[in-house]
Symmetry: none
Subunit: 90 residues, 2 copies
């Protein structure tokens, strides 16, 4: 299987559905702090969307401060505790 129940015709656009799905995974602890999220390519296959759409979903989480992204490596769940930062914040 691949697609995770994304409705292109739902009132919520796909990228928001995906964002919500990822946020739920983080809240659930499925995606723990410091751990990498699925790559854009993974999201692309998993949800059956284009890369831009997967990227838009990640952008939502990034704007909400839930994740941070490192060029050439991937996106990671922000760590609420333990000092040493990562993306630009003191």
């Amino acid at each position: 299987m691949a697609a995770r129940e994304i409705d292109p015709r739902a009132p919520e656009p796909p990228y928001r559905q995906i964002a919500a799905d990822l946020i739920a995974e983080i809240a659930r602890g499925d995606l723990a702090p410091g751990k990498p999220l699925p790559s854009e390519k993974e999201l692309t296959e998993r949800y059956g969307v284009a890369r831009n759409t997967a990227r838009s979903a990640l952008a939502v989480l990034r704007e909400q401060g839930l994740i941070y992204t490192v060029t050439g490596r991937g996106s990671y769940v922000v760590e609420p505790t333990g000092g040493a930062d990562h993306h630009g914040d003191a």
Copy 2:
């Protein structure tokens, strides 16, 4: 010379034009079975495109079963006869 007449504005996208060019070379015997194709870097310089574009072209040939690729070495024209070597088959 370098660029092989790739038209960025043609109806056929560059990566398909390059793929077609390479396929023609194989059909013509210019690229014989078992012999390595130009590296991605070579294709990049030859057609004046980005590496991603060259890779997309190679992906087309790979999907058509015309070539196989080995990490760290390169892509090779598949051998139609009983070679007993190359990519994964006994």
